[in-house]
Every structure is written in C-alpha cells, then in structure tokens.
Amino acid sequence: MTAAIELRGVTKVYRKYSDTTGSGILGRLRTRTRTSELVALDAVDLRVEPGESLGVIGRNGAGKSTLLQLLGGVTAPTSGSVEVRGRVAPLISVGVGFHPEMTGRENVHVNGTILGMTKAEVDGKLDRIVAFAELEQFIDTPVKFYSSGMFVRLGFAVAVEARPDVLLVDEVLAVGDFSFALRCFERMNEIRRAGTTIVVVSHNMGAIRGFCDRSLVLDHGRVVHDGSTFDAIAAYVDLASRDAADPAEKGDGVVVESFDIHDEHGRHASHVRYGDEVSFRLRVRALRDVATPFQWLGIETGAGAVVYSDARFDIPQPALQAGQRVTFEARLVVRLPTGDYSAAAALHDLLDMPRSRLLATAPRLSFYVTGRDTVHGAADLDASFGVRDRVV
C-alpha cells in the first residue's frame, strides 16, 4: 500500500534574523543582517499509512508545529523530502480565514474554498456542517458575535466535511466544551474509517491516548520515539521529568540519590494505572547524623495545580547516621483522573516544632495516570452511580 505521508531524512532549518548593528543610514545599508540558525527538525523519517491516526507529542520547541507545517505544505524542507498523497486540510487554530464581519454561512463558503472544496460541495454539505456545529439559528449572524466555542465548532465542522485525505489537528479541541470534543473524536473516527489519515498534535495526553494508536515523540527536532501511544507517553513523561531535574534545591546534610515511583511489582513506573498501589521512593545518603527526619510528598497536575501536599512531621522516621543510605517510601493508591502529574519529595529535620530544617529536595518527577478517562476535575471522588428509586 502506498503511504499517505512519507518523510525521508527531513531537516528544517530556520534562519533567525537579529537586528542590524550598523550605525547611521550608510551603516545600516551596508551591515548585512546577521542570522543565526535554528534546527527545527533534524533528519526525520516518517511513514504513515492511509487511515492511521498519529499522535505527535513533545515539549514546546520540539518541532511539532514545524512538522505540521511541512505536512500541510506551508513550508518546504531544507533537505530531505516530504510527500503527502491526497488533499490536506489543516484544523490548525480553527477558523483561520474566518472574517468577523461575515456571517457564518459566508465564512463557511470562504473556508471551504480555502480547504479545496468546490462551490457545489460547500452548498451540498452546508446543512450537515451547520447541524454538526449546532448553529442553525446563528448561521446568518456575523461570526464576531460567536462565542469561542461556536467558532471552534464551525471551523471543525468545515474542516471535517472537506473530507481531506489527510487531516492535521493542532491543539484545537481543547477549546470546545467536553461533549463537543467527544463528538469531534467520534466524527474523526468516522472519517478515519473511511480512509482519512489524521495527525494530532496535542499536549493533552488524554486526547492523544484516546484517539491515536501510534504516537511520535519529538525532542529537539528528533524523533525519540515512534510506536504505541502508551509507550510514547511514557517516553514523553520521562523526557519531561529529566528536563525538570534542574539542580535540586540545596539542602543540608543529606544527599538525594534517587526519587522514583514503583508499582506493585516493584518496577519503576512513570505510567501508572488508576487504582494501582504505588510507592514513591526517596533514596538518600546522610552526610551527618539526623535525629528526627520526616518526609514531605507533593503532587501537582501537569498544569501546576496542587493535588496533594503532605508533610508528615507527626510521623518522625528513625534517626539517620552519617554515611548511612536510607530509602524512604510513601505508599498510596492512585485515585487520580487521567492526566499528567508531577511529584516532588523532600526530607526535613524536625528540630523542635514549629522550627524545622530542610535537609534535601528531590528533583520533580513526572508521571502519567490512565484508566479512568471518564473522570475530570481536581479530585476523583469515585462516586458509585446507580438507580435509587424507580416509579412505574
């Protein structure tokens, strides 16, 4: 079968211009603009079959947007070749080309044409587009009166109805409301079964995991992982936590040797299933005697919201002696909504309360929780749902 997308040794270098340094008018004209080069993608090979859905994850600046631009044909590779078969439609920041003064209907015509639809196609599909976007009452209203959700819905509906052979999705489904996002994925699955290849770039691991069988992890313009989405997320979390391991806050008297998560089988796990019992292990070496050490554990969401923070000074641990290596652990059952999190740990010395002294802080550790895609929000309260009463 011929691939829908094929990249061979693709490298993309951007020239960044910096200000001219010449002084005076003549100097300005004579001084050549100095440039520095930025390698956005470095020797990327990729083959995607028709009907596949590929997730692309990576930190900011990893090259995700450049990859999407190359797939959309908006830019050309500096070396290597990019081959895309069929019509490409980007769902990149939905509503590009929408003009606020024009009505929804007019914008559908313009946007549909930009995406390569003929007038007859747009006319024929207008009803479906409007129905999917749930904008029946507002389709003749200028879009400047639309909410951001309405904007996204209309843009999505047009892009999907353009029936592209390759659909490029960039971080857009985060804007719509939850039920609309579900319908979008449903719709994307439909067109995928009909043969459309879909490439999704997102920071939302839940979305990627729910939709893509295969994912690519980019780091500094290179593909560091290409395989199952499950493994890709683990690889990404691994990267992110290594990155966060900036020099740990200097403590005093204790050196952190490692901080990681172990699952029930005792393995390191950066990918945790909902309901698993895990242990956060902090291994330290004492440089001097510590009489009353106690632990602190903190967990934040990927976005930085504190989920849990607990300093158990009420449970002092056994004293440390100089030169001793000790592994502290904090066990817990993971009841967290699907998503990415980070954990931090520290060891303090309980001198006489309320005075305590920080001994050491472990580098922040990223991990990913899956298994309960239905739960959203700050905490999983694990409600049990059922019927209480039934009146016949």
Binding site: Y14, T75, A76, S79, S81, E83, P90, V96, E106, G116
Partner: protein
C-alpha cells in the same frame, strides 16, 4: 473542472514556473472567493458602500481640477478648449487609472506579508495573494468607470468611438499593477522597507506622470523621461479616450508593457524559487 493533482512531494523551496502557474490556475476559484470576501468586508459596515469607491477619486479629481485651473491656468488651459469643464474631464480621465493604481499597488505589494495568519497555516500558491488584491481593486475600478463615462459624455467630447480607449487603458492598468506586484509582493517579505518605497514612489509618480497636466506642458527635455514612467501608458490611453493624449503616447504604452514584462517575469521567477518558504519569514 479538473481537480488539482492531489498531494505533493517537496524536496526544497522551488516549484517550476509551469507547475506554479498550473497551481494558480487550479486556485482560480479561491482567488474569486477571497476577492469577493475582501471587497464585501471593506464596504460592509459603511452606509454608502461602493459609492465611496467612486466618491473618493471623484472628490480628488474635482479638487485638483479646481485648484490647478485657478492656481496654474497656464499649465492647464492647453488641453482642449481651455474651459474648466474640459479640464475637469481631462483630470478625471487621468484620475480613473491613477486611483486604481495608487489604491491597488500598495495593497497588492504587501498582500503576502499582510496575510501571515492565513499563509502560515494553509498552503496555496502565494501568487494567489497579489492576484486577489488586484481583483479586489477591480470592483472600485468598474465603479469609477461607470461614473467617468457619463461625465465624459456630458462635459467632454460627447459620444464618439474614442471613449472605447478606456478598455485597453483599464486592462493595461490592471496588468501593470499585477506585473509590479508579482515581484514586489514576494520581495516585500524579505525587504519590509519596500512598503515605504512604494508609498513614496507613488507620491512622486503622481506629479511626474501626466495625470493632471498634459505632457506638453512639461519642459521639453523631460518628455521622453515622463513617457517611460510605468503609469504613463494607462493614463495616456485614458486621456486618449477624451481626445487629449500625447501624440507619442504609444511610447508610453510600450514602456508600460516593458515594466509589466520585466517585473512580472522577475516576480514569477522569485515566486517559483521561494513559493514554499515565503511563509517562514512572515
């Protein structure tokens, strides 16, 4: 209508000129739709709509006619009979193509840079953007023509076949803006100063081109220089339609054709070399 060959294989920034032109042809409906959009949007919230497209050059022409015929009567009276009415028609005939060029050229020259939002996200030949700007500017051109013709009939020489000169005149003006902007729109991405060069250049050209005075009133030594200015061709063709052209106007027309060819060819080459990477610099 045949669909464009779906898909692409890119190994570098350049596209062969023939391939680029095929893609532009395949995008012709996009040009129409975008031009119609730009045109509608420009006048949508105004009460008088397209009337402004006519009113602005009309007011300019009227002011110029009055000012110049009272301040510099010696410059203006040699056109036709010397009456204010015929001078007004002369000025108006010059102002129609001039208003088109001076309105369309700045917009077309910056069309690619101004469409960064769209161009960075979806591919179509970048050449489409100056085309859209030129087509958009044709709406007000048609409107000004619709006003100019009756005025020429009433104040000017009356019904005569010469009026038909406005057709090649308009075509030449459209081609001129198209040719110049093919090069300028792509070059402007690299050299943002061009925006101001165009703006300053138009100001100078307005007085050098025989828009508001007959060429014969300029000093003899500069006649041939004036004749080879880019906008002289269309302007002289319009003057011809009211019977007030420079006898050697064909030199001007030829010069305009040369400008169009040189800028158009250079523009095509630049577009074909850089089409796929112009968006990188936006």
């Amino acid at each position: 209508m045949t669909a464009p060959a779906p898909g692409f294989c890119l190994t570098g920034p350049s596209t062969p000129v023939a391939g680029l032109l095929r893609e532009v042809w395949a995008s012709r409906r996009l040009v129409g739709v975008l031009a119609r959009k730009d045109f509608l949007v420009r006048y949508r919230r105004t009460r008088l709509g397209l009337i402004w497209a006519v009113a602005v050059p009309l007011v300019q022409a009227a002011v110029l006619a009055v000012v110049f015929s009272s301040v510099l009567p010696q410059v203006t009276t040699s056109s036709g009979s010397g009456r204010l009415g015929s001078y007004a028609v002369f000025v108006l005939s010059g102002m129609v193509p001039w208003a088109f060029v001076s309105g369309a050229l700045p917009a077309a020259s910056t069309s690619i840079a101004d469409s960064a939002n769209l161009a960075q996200r979806i591919y179509f030949p970048r050449l489409v953007l100056p085309l859209v700007a030129v087509v958009t500017a044709c709406y007000p051109l048609l409107a000004t023509l619709a006003v100019f013709l009756p005025v020429a009939l009433v104040l000017g020489p009356g019904v005569q076949p010469e009026l038909l000169w406005v057709l090649p005149g308009s075509a030449l003006a459209v081609l001129l803006v198209l040719g110049l902007s093919l090069l300028l729109s792509a070059a402007q991405v690299y050299l943002r100063d061009l925006r101001f060069v165009v703006s300053a250049g138009l100001t100078v050209l307005f007085y050098l081109t025989p828009v508001i005075y007959p060429l014969q009133r300029a000093p003899q030594v500069v006649h041939d220089l004036i004749r080879v200015l880019p906008v002289s061709g269309p302007v002289e063709l319009f003057h011809r339609s009211v019977g007030a052209a420079d006898p050697l106007m064909w030199r001007s027309v030829l010069a305009s054709v040369v400008w169009i060819t040189v800028f158009g060819a250079a523009g095509l080459v630049l577009h074909s070399r850089r089409d796929r990477v112009l968006a990188d610099l936006l």
